[in-house]
C-alpha cells in the first residue's frame, strides 16, 4: 500500500513538473494572444479580445508568410519523400558497393555544427544566384530532412519479415504485388511518421531559412522574429506562434486517427 502511495506521489510530481515546464509557457502564449490589456502586477489580463487577431490576420505580410511556409514545407516534404523513400528501400534491401559509407554519410549533416555547414553551402549558393530565392531555401531544407526520411524508413523496411514476403510469393503474388500488399502496409506507420516529422520540422525551421532566404523569402518563424524584435507587440508574436501550432496539431491528429498511438510510438522508436 505504501509503495503504491509513493509511486503515485512520484507520478504526480513528474506530471506537475512537466506541466510547469511544457504546458505553462504554451498556456501563457495562448493567453497573450487573446489579451488586449495586461499590465503588471495583474495575474490575469485586464481585457480579453480578438482585436490583435484581426490585426494580424489582416496583414498581407502574415498571409504571405503563412502561404510561403506551407508551400515550402509541402514541396520539401514531397521532394524528400520522392528521393528518400526509394533510397531507403535500396539501403534496407539491396547490397551495393559503398552502401554503409553512403548510409552513414546522411548522419554527417548532424555530426558537424550545422550552421558552419550552411554558411559553406550559402557561399556556393551566392555563386549560383540561389540566395534570397525560394528554390534555394527548398534545396537547403531538403538536406536537413535527409536523415529522418532515410533512417526511419530504412529501419522500417528492415523490420519487415522477409519470410512474410516469401510466403506471399509462394501463394502466387508477383514481386510488385508483394510490395504493395505485404511490405507497404507494414512500413506505412514509419513512413507516415517520417513524413510528419519532415513537414513539421521544415515548417518550423528558422536559421537556414533566414540565412538563405532572407530578406526575400519570408516564412512564419522569420516574420515572428521580426515582430518580436522590432515591433515589440507581444500579441503579434503570440498569435503567430498559435498559428504555427496548427499544422503540427492537425498532422498529429490525422496520424493518430490513421495509425493509433502505439504504431506511431513504434515508428518513432
Amino acid at each position: 500500500m505504501t509503495r503504491v502511495m509513493r509511486l503515485d506521489w512520484k507520478g504526480w510530481l513528474i506530471a506537475a513538473l512537466l506541466t510547469v515546464a511544457i504546458l505553462l509557457p504554451l498556456v501563457n502564449v495562448a493567453v497573450w494572444s487573446f489579451t488586449e490589456v495586461w499590465r503588471y502586477p495583474a495575474v490575469i489580463p485586464q481585457k480579453f479580445g480578438f482585436r490583435f487577431w484581426g490585426d494580424v490576420l489582416g496583414r498581407r505580410d502574415v498571409r504571405d508568410a503563412v502561404m510561403t511556409s506551407l508551400s515550402l514545407a509541402a514541396i520539401v516534404t514531397a521532394l524528400s519523400a520522392l528521393i528518400c523513400l526509394p533510397a531507403s528501400y535500396a539501403f534496407a534491401r539491396m547490397n551495393f558497393p559503398g552502401r554503409n559509407l553512403f548510409f552513414m554519410s546522411f548522419l554527417t549533416v548532424y555530426a558537424f555544427p550545422k550552421f558552419g555547414l550552411y554558411i559553406t553551402i550559402a557561399t556556393i549558393f551566392i555563386g549560383l544566384g540561389l540566395i534570397g530565392n525560394f528554390w534555394g531555401v527548398v534545396l537547403i531544407q531538403l538536406v536537413s530532412t535527409l536523415m529522418f526520411m532515410v533512417w526511419i524508413p530504412v529501419s522500417a523496411f528492415q523490420n519487415v519479415d522477409r519470410r512474410q514476403e516469401e510466403a506471399a510469393r509462394d501463394v502466387g503474388a508477383s514481386p510488385l504485388r508483394v510490395f504493395w500488399s505485404i511490405t507497404m502496409p507494414q512500413v506505412l506507420p514509419a513512413i507516415t511518421a517520417a513524413v510528419l516529422l519532415t513537414f513539421v520540422n521544415t515548417f518550423y525551421e528558422t536559421e537556414v531559412a533566414w540565412l538563405i532566404g532572407a530578406p526575400e523569402v519570408r516564412t512564419v518563424p522569420l516574420l515572428m522574429i521580426r515582430f518580436i524584435n522590432s515591433e515589440l507587440i507581444v500579441q503579434y508574436g503570440a498569435i503567430l506562434s498559435l498559428i504555427m501550432w496548427v499544422p503540427s496539431f492537425l498532422l498529429l491528429i490525422v496520424a493518430r486517427r490513421f495509425l493509433g498511438a502505439q504504431a506511431l510510438g513504434r515508428a518513432f522508436a
Binding site: D161, Q164, P185
Partner: protein
C-alpha cells in the same frame, strides 16, 4: 498429387557447398523427411524446391516438368515456414484468402474455400482474429491452411513444429499426417528432430554437410544405418572404436567375430541391444549411473579401457552405480571409415553377401514400440 524429382542439385554459398549433388525422387502422395543437423543443407534444398533459392547446378522436376528456373509464384508448391510468416497486418481470414484473391476467384468461392480450409485445420470461426492474438499452434495451423487452400501439388514444410512445445508438436504431427493422407498431397518435410522424422515420414533422407547420407524407410534408417553418421544421428547408438585382429573385433572389452581384414573398425550397438550380466574382474565394465525411465533403466557404463557407453535394462533388474558387468551385444554393426561393413539382418535375407550375414549374432527384430520408447 504429384511426382517430384531432384537431380544433382547443388548450391554454393561463398566457400561452402551448402548442397552438394543431391538427387532424390519423391513419389505421388509420399511424405519425405529431410533430416539432418543444422547446417546440413536440408533447408536450402527445401528453399530451392520452393523457388526461393536458385540452384547453382542440377534441376527440379514436378510431374516431369522442369521448374528449376521458375519463381515461387509460378510453381505448384506451397511452403509452410518455420516462423509461420503470417501477415500480421491481416486477419486470419485474409491470410488464408490472399492466394485465392490473387487468382481472381469469385467472392463466394473465396469465402467458401477459405472457410473450408480453416475448418479442416480446426480453426472454424477464427477468421476475424488477428494472427498475433493466436497461440503458436493456432498460428501454425493458419499457415498450414494458407498453403492447403491453394491445393498445391507439393507441400513443403520447413521445421514447422520447431516453435511448439512437445505436447502440441505431437498433436500437430498427427494432424499433418492425417491431412496429408486425406488430401493425398506429396510432402517434403524438413526437420532436425529424428522422432519427428520417424513418426511422420514414408521415407527419410538423412543429410550431412550438404550431401545425402541415406534415403530409406524409417525402420531401415533406424535398423540398417548405412553410415556411422546415420547410426549415431538416429536413435541412441554406442559407437566404439576398436581393432580387428584375425577375424575378431575388440572394442571396449567386447569381442565379436567379423569377416574383415585386420585394422581399425567401429563397433555400433544400440543400448537396447546390449545384454548386461553381473561380473567381476579387471575386464568387466563398471556401472557409472542408472536412470529409471519407468519403461526401462538406462545404464551408463564405463568399460575397462575408459570408454563410456549406454545400455538398457529391465526395470527392477537391480542395477546400481558401482556394480560390475559384462556386455553381451545381441545385435551390432561394424563400420570402417564411416561406412557399414557388417550389420544384423533379418533371417534369410539374401540381399547382402554371405560374409556380412555371418556377422549376425541375434536375429530377433526389435519391436516398433521399443523403438519409439527410445526416442522420446
Amino acid at each position: 498429387m504429384a511426382e517430384l524429382e531432384i537431380r544433382n542439385l547443388s548450391r554454393v554459398f561463398g566457400a561452402t557447398r551448402a548442397v552438394n549433388d543431391v538427387s532424390i525422387s519423391v513419389a505421388h502422395g509420399e511424405l519425405l523427411c529431410l533430416l539432418g543437423p543444422s547446417g546440413s543443407g536440408k533447408s536450402t534444398v527445401l528453399r530451392m524446391l520452393g523457388g526461393f533459392e536458385r540452384p547453382d547446378s542440377g534441376s527440379i522436376l514436378i510431374d516431369g516438368k522442369d521448374v528449376t528456373n521458375l519463381p515461387p509464384e509460378r510453381r505448384p508448391t506451397g511452403m509452410v515456414f518455420q516462423s509461420h510468416a503470417l501477415w500480421s497486418h491481416m486477419d486470419v481470414f485474409s491470410n488464408v484468402a490472399f492466394g485465392l484473391k490473387l487468382r481472381r476467384l469469385p467472392r463466394q468461392d473465396i469465402r467458401q474455400r477459405t472457410e473450408a480450409a480453416l475448418d479442416m485445420v480446426g480453426l472454424a470461426g477464427f477468421g476475424p482474429r488477428r494472427p498475433t492474438k493466436l497461440s503458436g499452434g493456432q498460428q501454425q495451423r493458419v499457415a498450414l491452411a494458407r498453403s492447403l487452400v491453394l491445393e498445391p501439388k507439393i507441400l513443403l514444410l520447413d521445421e514447422p513444429f520447431a516453435s511448439l512445445d512437445q505436447h502440441l508438436r505431437e498433436r500437430m504431427r498427427e494432424e499433418v499426417r492425417e491431412i496429408q493422407q486425406r488430401a493425398g498431397i506429396t510432402m517434403v518435410f524438413v526437420t532436425h528432430g529424428q522422432d519427428e522424422a520417424l513418426a511422420l515420414a514414408d521415407r527419410i533422407a538423412v543429410m550431412r554437410d550438404g550431401r545425402l547420407e541415406q534415403v530409406d524407410k524409417p525402420d531401415a534408417v533406424y535398423r540398417r544405418p548405412r553410415t556411422a553418421f546415420v547410426a549415431g544421428f538416429i536413435g541412441q547408438m554406442n559407437l566404439i572404436d576398436g581393432e580387428v585382429r584375425a577375424g575378431s573385433l575388440n572394442a571396449a572389452g567386447v569381442t565379436v567375430a567379423v569377416a574383415l581384414a585386420d585394422g581399425p573398425a567401429t563397433l555400433a550397438m544400440r543400448p537396447e541391444d546390449i545384454g548386461l550380466q553381473r561380473a567381476s574382474g579387471a575386464d568387466a565394465a563398471t556401472v557409472h549411473r542408472v536412470i529409471d525411465f519407468g519403461t526401462h533403466l538406462s545404464v551408463e557404463l564405463q568399460a575397462s579401457g575408459g570408454t563410456r557407453l549406454k545400455a538398457t535394462a529391465q526395470p527392477g533388474s537391480g542395477w546400481t552405480a558401482g556394480m560390475q558387468a559384462h556386455l553381451h551385444p545381441r545385435k551390432f554393426a561394424v563400420y570402417r571409415d564411416g561406412t557399414l561393413c557388417g550389420l544384423p539382418l533379418a533371417p534369410g535375407r539374401a540381399d547382402l553377401p554371405l560374409s556380412l550375414q555371418s556377422l549376425v549374432t541375434d536375429q530377433a527384430p526389435a519391436s516398433r514400440d521399443h523403438l519409439a520408447s527410445n526416442h522420446s
